[in-house]
């Protein structure tokens, strides 16, 4: 028998993986060698049998899993875009000579756009004016319909001005490094980590690429560990006004103060009922705790539209119930929370809550247990801005622990955990295990992807802090 140059060629020939020339050469060789041809025929019979009898997979995803995928893939409405990431459509290059009708249409659109912008700025002003209450917002507070912004009304107090409130600060080419506020001595500690780059007129037109400023609170002192068997439920106040867009008030020099309103002798009106709360989405993530191997972290994120009465009106708290499962959780504590305001009115902001918990029972093993319930999260009477699809209860969010290590967690989870770790480190808490600056640098996700600017900023801040205290 004359063996082919490569014995795998016979199999490749049967599977149609050879090029035409190689196949022709091999067939010529097979025709001349009966033993090779016998192997070729046996392989052909076997391959055909396997192709015919190949088991057909028939398992499908569970309906809840499928719905979750379809919901994630659904195109987001404009206001549900990730906060801070606005990418306006690319502008078409202006042609040197336009047809007459196109010129007229462009003029019409420009005028319409200016009118809309003026009207939009008028809408924002009620949150800027400190001593004046817009009747339009009062009307919105009592409304029970959709969370759309209230229309302009003729009764709104007139603020003659020559300077419209500026848009939220866009980034400059070289953002300032992260600044940390001085530590407070009272608890809970509020640590403001701002990343507001300088605003210059020439960059005002560029699309913002940096996330807006957020505020991080740590709650260790106020919320020590709680025994889940004794008190599994935690009621937190959810304050939608914390995601209200932060708009710089106009310069006082350009404002003409309105005449003071006459004091009313009528009795004070009854307090307006609490407006409904709308959210875009919420999620719960768990992973191992980087600074304490006996603990795990739970992050609950709620994304809310900024243009709703609950966020724009008076500060109102909504119940936010977290019910830990004592079968799987031994003790827990609220570690911190953060507010990420919406960059502008028609976008979304986020409220995030971080918990540490000590697993109970089987969760203490490091093996992967899919879907062990850690906690159930509920916001009573919450409404979603998009219609959820599926048989599940959309008012209840279940936090499941899948045994994920923090090294395998999502990049945004790791970035926020690093921020939280830094806040705890600066607070000087003694109950944070092996937390140190080096560990926080390791927690940061890899330097790639959309989170890279934020990630690099935090890494630079850590290195500067380390240099400052002489540890490098």
């Amino acid at each position: 028998m004359t063996a082919p140059r490569d014995p795998t060629d016979i199999t490749a020939l049967v599977l149609d993986e050879l090029s035409a020339e190689a196949a022709a050469a091999l067939r010529h060789q097979l025709d001349a060698d009966p033993e090779l041809e016998s192997i070729h025929q046996q392989t052909t019979v076997l391959v055909h049998a396997m192709q015919q009898g190949a088991p057909t997979p028939s398992d499908l995803l569970h309906p809840a899993q499928r719905q979750r995928i379809l919901h994630s893939a659904a195109p987001a409405p404009r206001r549900a875009l990730p906060s801070g990431k606005t990418t306006p459509p690319a502008l078409r290059p202006v042609r040197s000579a336009w047809p007459r009708r196109l010129s007229q249409l462009a003029a019409l659109l420009t005028v319409g756009g200016v009118c809309f912008w003026i009207g939009h700025s008028q809408l924002v002003r009620p949150s800027v004016a400190t001593n004046q209450k817009s009747p339009a917002l009062d009307a919105t507070n009592s409304a029970t319909a959709s969370p759309k912004p209230p229309p302009a009304t003729a009764n709104r107090p007139a603020l003659a001005q020559t300077d419209l409130p500026p848009a939220p600060p866009p980034p400059s080419a070289a953002p300032r490094p992260v600044q940390t506020a001085p530590l407070a001595t009272e608890s809970p500690t509020d640590l403001a980590l701002t990343a507001s780059p300088a605003r210059t007129p020439e960059v005002a037109a560029r699309p913002p690429t940096d996330p807006p400023a957020f505020k991080l609170h740590t709650h260790l002192a106020a919320h020590p560990f709680t025994d889940a068997a004794r008190a599994p439920k935690l009621d937190l106040p959810l304050e939608p006004t914390r995601i209200r867009p932060r708009i710089k008030p106009p310069s006082a020099d350009n404002l003409i103060a309105a005449k003071p309103a006459p004091r009313s002798t009528d009795p004070a009106p009854p307090p307006a009922p609490r407006p409904p709360l709308y959210i875009h989405a919420w999620r719960a993530d768990t992973a191992s705790c980087p600074w304490d191997s006996e603990l795990r972290l739970l992050r609950i994120t709620v994304q809310l539209p900024a243009d709703q009465a609950a966020a724009l009106g008076n500060s109102t708290q909504y119940p936010f119930e977290i019910d830990f499962d004592p079968n799987n959780v031994r003790r827990f504590r609220l570690l911190g929370s953060s507010d990420q305001p919406a960059p502008e009115l028609r976008q979304a902001g986020r409220l995030t809550y971080w918990f540490e918990y000590s697993p109970n029972g089987a969760l203490r093993d490091r093996a992967l247990h899919p879907g062990r319930r850690v906690a159930s999260i509920r916001i009573p009477n919450v409404r979603f801005t998009t219609t959820p699809v599926g048989p599940f209860d959309d008012g209840l969010l279940t936090a499941e622990d899948r045994g994920i290590e923090w090294t395998q967690a999502r990049s945004d989870f790791r970035l926020e955990a690093a921020r939280l770790g830094l806040a705890l480190l600066l607070q000087g808490s003694s109950s944070t295990g092996n937390l140190n600056a080096d560990l926080i640098l390791k927690i940061l996700p890899p330097a790639s992807g959309p989170l890279k600017p934020e990630r690099d900023r935090l890494a630079n801040a850590l290195r500067q802090l380390a240099t400052l205290v002489g540890s490098h």
Binding site: A54, R66, A73, A90
Partner: protein, 183 residues
């Protein structure tokens, strides 16, 4: 303008991908996870959620390979966490299984394809994977190479070796049993 995650083209891509690949990905992943269909569902769900975040223009070409690769990597992460993955044992499995084979154990099934697929379970995990990708999912060598991270030549060699083993074992299986000795 390029599509971005969250756009309607992403939604269409994900819906179509679910329709085309949902069950075959679960089947493929379940085989990697030792038959654990529930965990395979979780892995496949994660893969599709990752697809929701991906740029559709980048993954559209080669979507099938992309999905298989993501499921494969995720399945190995799962196995690694379970500490059930030991690459050193993969080559030994082959030698161990040869001695356990006996014609009498497989006497009931005479259908060649059923027998062949039953014998696939006794191949090494590497060989099983390429056999399934080739025959169950009808992927070309090139795609199998992309998914598994092997070279095209290695894929060809693995398939050739696997089929040769199957052929030899089938011949042993289908050989008539020796006559009983006379009392």
């Amino acid at each position: 303008m390029a599509s971005s995650p969250g756009s309607s083209s992403t939604a269409d891509l994900v819906r179509q991908a679910l329709q085309d690949y949902e069950s075959i990905l679960i089947g493929y992943t379940a085989n990697l996870l030792g038959g654990d269909v529930e965990r395979a569902r979780d892995v496949v769900q994660d893969a599709f959620l990752k697809l929701c975040q991906a740029d559709p223009d980048r993954v559209r070409h080669g979507l099938r390979s992309w999905l298989f690769t993501v499921c494969r990597n995720r399945a190995f992460d799962v196995l690694r966490k379970d500490q059930r993955l030991d690459f050193a044992d993969w080559q030994d499995l082959d030698r161990q299984d040869e001695s356990s084979l006996h014609p009498a154990d497989q006497a009931d099934s005479t259908h060649l394809s059923e027998l062949a697929w039953a014998l696939v379970e006794q191949l090494s995990p590497n060989q099983q994977e390429v056999i399934r990708l080739k025959f169950q999912h009808d992927l070309p060598y090139q795609e199998i190479a992309e998914i598994t991270g092997l070279s095209v030549g290695n894929v060809g060699f693995l398939l050739h070796t696997a089929l040769k083993k199957l052929r030899q074992r089938l011949q042993r299986q289908l050989k008539p049993a020796p006559p009983l000795p006379a009392p």
